[in-house]
Symmetry: C3
Subunit: 472 residues, 3 copies
């Protein structure tokens, strides 16, 4: 039976001098609290604090990194227990799902999922053998047993993980009742929301018009008139602010922004609300871009940090979308342009000290060519950490190597885990801290940075920068 080991030097460069330096830097930041300013955990976990159901429900079914890879190896999603909407029967036994996963755990070699999962197995559940088909059931039993104990309830894990603040992400239509319940409960964990209005800013979203109607109902505004719509958004932003939100988040297909005159915007809004029949793809693009500009304008007033995450072709596989719905691992990045796209917004608000704009990318070519030069000039703009497919050791290394020389470290904002896989949060932050310390160690060993500076930066990247950038 192969042993499961988390080596204390994992992810540090192999060269002994650099490794020693990385270890020294890491030791000083390894224990810092976790700032998680951007993620997708379910706030109900912390409101209700009921036990997580079982290993498959906890670790496989919500993790698109995991089921995506199993799917690529030929395991149909229904065999992983994902519920279908077309009547395909879905595997109901979580233990069978778990075995499908365990038998194929070798597929994750060389991926960050392997690092995160091994950490969860070893650190959270105390497992001592590497996951293989042979120990699938033993794993299942051990995890299932642990989940029934108080120490594995959501709040207990939150505390054990030393999370200082955790942001979830909600639609403007969300009543935020879980956040309210957490606040009322007297529990000291800080779980805040973030304002994610894609569904009411993007006319291409399937329920756009219905969601606008609902937005109007919630706010008492006429959200089908342009001015009422803007007031309704301001109203919801204020509501989110009260529930602790310090940021907005925008997952648009492109980074396009547009600076429309008010009457032009009003005419476009009228076309947008008349519905899909009269709307061209360009109209939708301009409207989304105009609304990013409006979001920036509102941020000047309410101080919410603005995040843009563009450049994904969502739901690439039509059959998967039809049968299993969105967010099933079939999203694929595309080449993304930032220089012309962000020009209207940066020209209008990029030097305004009231705005913080954090930009993410899935197109790594933009790090050195577009994003670092933009962030290295505009005071409002900062670079988000490597994201989604690039939230990995090599991805993090490329980000630091390609962005730092032009943007510096101080135009970056630390780490985001961006995950709904709650148990992996400490592992993800730990990977980022180790990789950043490895990068800084190289700079020290190559005499490009002094040790005292590297210590300051290691702490900044692990804790201070995120806390400051997200105003936490």
């Amino acid at each position: 039976m192969p042993e499961l080991r988390l080596h204390p030097d994992r992810l540090f460069p192999g060269d002994p001098a650099t490794r020693t330096m990385a270890r020294e830097l890491y030791e000083a930041v390894a224990g810092l609290p976790i700032i998680s300013p951007h993620g997708h955990c379910d706030p109900a976990w912390f409101a209700d604090n009921v036990p997580f159901p079982n290993p498959a429900e906890l670790l496989i079914k919500p993790d698109h990194y995991v089921f995506r890879m199993l799917h690529s190896a030929g395991v149909p999603l229904e065999e992983l227990g994902l519920p279908s909407s077309d009547g395909t029967p879905s595997e109901a036994d979580p233990r069978v799902v778990w075995r499908q996963f365990a038998e194929r755990y070798h597929l994750f070699r060389g991926t960050p999922s392997r690092l995160w999962l091994d950490w969860v197995f070893a650190e959270v559940f105390g497992l001592e053998q590497r996951l293989t088909a042979d120990v699938a059931d033993a794993y299942y039993d051990a995890i299932e047993a642990a989940l029934t104990t108080p120490a594995f309830r959501p709040r207990a894990l939150f505390e054990r993980f030393n999370i200082e603040v955790l942001a979830t992400t909600e639609s403007p239509l969300d009543p935020l009742e879980h956040h309210a319940a957490i606040a009322k409960s007297g529990w000291s964990g800080r779980v805040i929301t973030a304002f994610r209005p894609d569904n009411v800013l993007d006319p291409d979203q399937p329920d756009f018009r219905a969601d606008l109607a609902r937005l109007g109902e919630i706010t008492g505004e006429d959200a089908l008139s342009y001015k009422g719509y803007l007031r309704a958004l301001e109203n919801r932003r204020a509501f989110f602010r009260e529930a602790g939100a310090t940021s907005t988040d925008h997952g648009h297909p492109t980074a396009a922004t547009f600076d429309l005159e008010p009457d032009e915007a009003e005419r476009l809004f009228a076309r947008v609300t008349r519905g899909a029949g009269t709307l061209t793809p360009a109209d939708a693009e301009v409207f989304r871009g105009h609304m990013l500009m409006q979001m920036a304008r509102m941020s000047l007033d309410d101080g919410m940090v603005m995040q843009i995450h563009p450049g994904v072709t969502r739901n690439h596989d039509a059959a998967t979308l039809r049968r299993f719905g969105r967010d099933k691992g079939a999203d694929v990045p595309t080449a993304t342009e930032y220089v012309q796209a962000l020009k209207p917004l940066l020209n209008r608000y990029g030097a305004d000290p009231r705005l913080t704009l954090i930009v993410f990318t899935l197109d790594e070519t933009s790090y050195s060519r577009e994003l670092a030069p933009l962030a290295g000039f505009y005071p409002a703009m900062k670079l988000g950490p490597p994201w989604w497919f690039h939230d990995s050791p090599e991805g993090m290394r490329r980000f630091r190597e390609q962005a730092t020389e032009t943007a510096g470290f101080y135009n970056t904002v630390g780490f985001n885990d961006d995950t709904r896989a709650f148990l992996s949060i400490p592992a993800r932050h730990d990977v980022a801290r180790r990789m950043d310390c490895g990068f800084l160690a190289r700079l020290v060993v190559e005499h490009r940075l002094e040790l005292d500076e590297a210590h300051q930066l290691a702490r900044g990247l692990a804790y201070d920068f995120a806390k400051a950038a997200y105003k936490l």
Copy 2:
């Protein structure tokens, strides 16, 4: 006289711990037989088994990596003995051609050609001095003398190189008589063909209509009717299957695929066969993309593995094309989009267990952004190894670093040498094995992978994965 040395640790990382680990991994795979599932050797070599003519004919004139670089340094192609079609006299003395090369061997410093050629000189011919102008004639004499001996005939070298299977590439119009001759000869070497139908799928190919007519003649089908054309292709695929082919290969300008209705396809085919005058570039693109879809459909039935190699601007230099023809080193990659391009094919067949689709790229930006995410989701899709300009130590390193974290190792297919430079085949596989072991060694040293797993993967990347993916 500088010595020619092939250091046993060549290409391994310099850090002692990583190097030791790389050496250990490499030693276990260095002697595995060569699986060469994609290449461009001439099957006549193995059918006829006559001696290779002379050093220039063997090592310079067929190797576009070599004459391209000499051309870039100002040596006209005619001085390298390449035959011209415009009456320019071409250097007839192979020894003079060899000297041109030897005098400029320093140009190859830092390139993979240098690694491959040094291996051929040292390992195949036993030469002990580094190639310079001073030893040009001594090299020439030694190689020429060796080539006259039985041990240097094609079949003897094939056996000495420990090649388990070698795939060549032929047009559907090829009678495959050399493969038949090999089969009849009783020689045990396995030389198979691959089905490369670009000339009869791409209306922009110069002899497209003539080749269609010929396709009809060979198969007894009316290849100028759409249905007859499809039957003719199926017919030739079956013929290739009988000659051992397990794969098709498609070198299109883009990765575009299209899913046309049958009647739409039939109308387009009618326009296509009426000829260039009535055909727009978009028509040609749609037709090629539609035929990739047809090729995938046929693969479901006959099990042939499908390979797509897009993204080259062929024959960039008009004068070179006019004077020396195609494949003269003037092909240049261009930015290539995969996400929208492959969507029709992947949406239709990407989850079909009967299809294996291997995708290559010359645009390295697509590794992490497009190809790894696609291969990491669709069961049918695998990533081809770094290809052509990127079939090099740094190119291989970038591929592993950029593709592995999202696609894993198991969505890749091992190494292809893709070469017509027969003598370099073992050197190319050796470079790949060394680089892959170096990459795996780093993962082990950084505690991202256990040693037993690295051993399995080293073997997979060197031998098992190619054999399985190409159904050999």
Copy 3:
């Protein structure tokens, strides 16, 4: 007080064997004279040889790398003493400007500016403490005092820096009186010009028509007729040649070249000179591309080496342009295509032994995909070194790793400092020498290159290649 140290091993890889090798290679080239074939120093400095005014005027106000980063951290450009054109008062006290910089020197951690500036502080001015707010005034005083002494006058520094030749860059309208003054002065320093005709080749330049008129006056040609315009350009090229120029430099938005028939060109020129109202963006693009072709044609006759630097969106921030003018750090690279763009020029002149075409990029994706394959085929084409945002340790490493395997070393041209920050010139060349030696050392340690070859190449990259490519 933290110490300011320039470690003798700085920028060398951490692995001991590679570091030892890098050091050995570097020691042999560290003292070679500086060839600076492309830069933006003011020739008046060497003509007049008056003292540099003060630390802020010398090190901050002319250095867009420096004020761009301070601006990104929220320091308005007027507080850095940059003169505005809209009446905004600008900080007049250079010591106050200096303190703004010193207080924020940590922003430059991890950037090449930090390396260059530390070198200037330690080597040029002998400062022994790291720059922080605490020593801002001590720095200011020490630098200001040094600048009043003869050893810190421009010519003395030029000699101390061991500059063999320094090229400045001038418009065709420049009378080159400073170069004439230098020549007449009897001073032995070689300061030559380079021909940068963007203002009279690019119809989108703001003063295009006025500059054409001025070109006509200077040359006595009718520069508003096409033939007179070409003669005027030839005339100025000859004038620049006499003042020592060996190269032309072209900073176009794209790399597009066009091969127009003479009458077509003449008609386009007529439209171009009628002015902006009748000219489309496509017309301007075609005209610029046609004029690159004309520049290449003229280079065949006069032997001037041709440089193309495409791919920047200039003046991205409209407010900064309006208030402070051009070149204020708000230039941002964009994706740049070379394969189709350069085809006309390379098809016509790419094999002409009279032409040297040096191509630069700000889009690093083109290194391996487009530029190395083109330079690895066309005799005329060479790759310029990593430029502007990529003129940095990691940028240089990526260039060598991505370009060398296809283009080789011998299709590259050594280093360009491309700077107007005169004091940083030795530091920039030193960074390039160290990084190139580090790269070569890795090749030697990995047994991909022999030591004698690495020594030759180290010298080539540091000195010989630039001297030869620029015909110096």
